[in-house]
């Protein structure tokens, strides 16, 4: 057995079908079964920020995108990579138009700042490390996903931002983002961005929060459109270098 490999699909079927199968099992979790995005960008209609050529797309798949959650799929065989790129191209050319935000990004920035977003989020080095980094959120999420994240943030909570609440034996309640947890300890980042570290033997309870730590925002339609346009314009370089690795398995 080998848990690291996610490839090995030298299929006795056509390359387009092979590409579709590879997409379904490797990519659809983030990009959606139809490629219209989710936790990853919309591949049908979003602009290709890393280039259009076969080689550019292969590079993204092989090496991942530093500063994003796109991992490196380095174990794919060359023929599999060819098939996958072929399918990704077909997805993209199947689009009726490119995805664009209609609002005013300049006003959206004001909405962002006046709505308290920087108290939890960060753009570049400005803002808080409590919630997801938005430096390049416009390149990594579809508009639809961004809209849902603002109006109904509990609809999809990335596991790395799952909320947890603990109550210590002396009755103190601390809620925040679970940074790490094992059988005996838990590490939490609270909203003041402090690490709160506990031995589980010091706790009387630990509760998974079903709701997102982010409250749902009910903005006027135009303000929402403007905020979305601002977020969609955020395509900056994230401060992470080097390839992103997939989680390694064990032999």
């Amino acid at each position: 057995m080998c848990l690291a490999a996610q490839s090995g699909l030298s299929a006795s079927i056509g390359p387009l079908e092979q590409g579709k199968a590879l997409f379904r099992s490797n990519c659809a979790f983030c990009h959606g079964l139809d490629g219209r995005g989710g936790r990853g960008p919309n591949l049908v209609s979003a602009p290709r920020t890393h280039g259009e050529s076969d080689e550019a797309v292969k590079n993204v798949i092989r090496k991942g995108v530093p500063g994003s959650t796109m991992p490196a799929f380095s174990t794919l065989e060359p023929d599999e990579l060819d098939a996958l790129v072929l399918f990704v191209h077909v997805l993209h050319t199947g689009a009726s138009g490119t995805e664009t935000a209609a609002g005013d990004p300049a006003d959206g920035r004001k909405v962002y700042e006046s709505s308290g977003c920087p108290s939890c989020h960060r753009i570049g080095l400005k803002g808080s490390a409590f919630g997801p980094d938005l430096t390049r959120i416009g390149a990594s999420r579809s508009l639809e996903y961004l809209k849902q994240s603002i109006t109904d943030p509990s609809a999809d909570i990335p596991p790395e931002y799952a909320g947890v609440a603990v109550v210590t034996k002396n009755g103190q309640r601390i809620a925040g983002v679970r940074i790490n947890e094992d059988t005996f300890t838990i590490q939490i980042r609270d909203q003041s961005q402090q690490f709160r570290n506990f031995e589980k033997s010091e706790l009387q309870s630990e509760t998974e929060m079903k709701q997102s730590l982010m409250p749902p925002y009910k903005l006027p339609q135009q303000k929402l459109e403007n905020l979305l346009a601002y977020l969609a314009s955020l395509k900056g370089e994230a401060p992470v270098t080097g390839p992103v690795k997939q989680t390694e398995g064990i032999r």
Binding site: L9, S10, R251
Partner: protein, 526 residues
Amino acid sequence: MKRTFLVLLAAAFVLPAQVTYDRLVNAQKEPQNWLTYWGDYSAIRYRALDRINTSNAKNLRLDWMFQTGQAGNFETVPLVVDGVMYFTAQGAQAYALDARSGRQLWHYSYPMPDNIKLCCGTVNRGLAMLGDRLYMVTPHAHLIALDRRDGTLIWDSEIAPAEKQYGATIAPLAVKDKIIVGVSGGEFGIRGLIDAFDAKTGKRAWRFWTIPSKDQPGGDTWLADSWKRGGGPTWMTGTFDPQLNLLYWGVGNPGPDLYGGDRLGDNLYSCSLVVLDPDTGKLKWYFQFTPHDVHDWDAEETPMLLNIKFRGQDRKVVVQANRNGFFYVLDRQTGEFLMAKPFARQTWAKQIDDKGRPVLANGGVPTPNGTRVCPGLAGAANWMAPSYNPETGWFYFPVREQCDIYYSLPPAYQEGKPYWGSVFRGATDEQEYGFLKALDPATGETKWDFRYQHAPWAGTMATSGGLIFAGDQDGYLMAFDSKTGKNLWHIYTGAPIVTAPITYLVNGKQYVSLASGAALMTFALP
């Protein structure tokens, strides 16, 4: 001065210098040593040592630590023989240390050829020792013999060609005058095998193909010529009953792993226990846990040999907590199926029938669109060592609670290329978790369990101090009360634990050793 020299010389003569076959048979009578990968031939991983016990385990602390500097999963289990520790590390390294201080006595590094594509990484699980020699495999599927006195290479024999994607990660097993090994490569369309080599000369003594050819018994369980790339790797050390003269060895998955359409049939002897005559390699009997497997559920889990009272009768049994989620009990002389009980969540079988064959549930087979099945591909159990405490009569083992989405598509076979038949993905609707579980092997009943935050990849060890030692995926080495499951001690080692601890005694002091990260860590009481 002269007198001191003579006294030392006399002491050297009374030390049993060589590890004879007789010592291996009686390994449990030398609790101060750890003479085989499993600690003995039966693989109970129990030691009658109680200096560390339920009342003082809380005082355990690091005694010494040896750094190998080798990257990757450190899966070795050391041998300890008369105060000297021998172990392997990734990429065919072997070390000898002073077992009291951790100071190095020698280090051997096999010169791996350049430009060789390894099927299965550089993991190595440990050594066998016989006479004055140590035996280890290399990542490119060689078996080598080293002089235990200084690590000199004595012979080097190819098990199977690495160019055909055979590899080796296993700790060899020494039986009489032979060294027995298996191979890795089940994801690459190999034809699996178990080999015995003459311990003295390095010449092959016999070979057992785990996938029969068309004209052999079992050959008709493979469609057309699919047997030729049928998999059936043998990457974990077997067990041995000296009285019955039978060798017990687990066989891995059929290939391609997740697509069975081109290999219709039961696909013997994949996912089976094969029982061989260790002198000739002839098959005595077999039991297939998962006929026509499509989930990569190797039967590489430890085939532990126990003597228990089963339904009122004294029975010699072989037990296995299988990757497919069921705990099996078989008569180890005849192969008679005695019992199978689920020990984890499983969604693929309605039940195991009275012959030991699974009755399949609907919706348990991989499909092009993905099928959610428990256990996941890594299994509810895997190669991580279980243990057994004769005083409680219970079986202690790590359990993985994790499900996968299994995809399936017909693959085309290309020599040297992965041959999976599509892929798997972790189910995302829940977090994985795990247990350390104590189970009555006579009934399959859980006596206690201790929940782990993450599904474990580490094994266990039992002692007469009333303790079970275990590791977890977060990097803790832990000690538990074997009767109650109470956690008595834990220490964070800083890396996921992917092997099992051992214990030994030198000059009256008991030690517990474990590989973690790039370090061999040894713990003792102050």
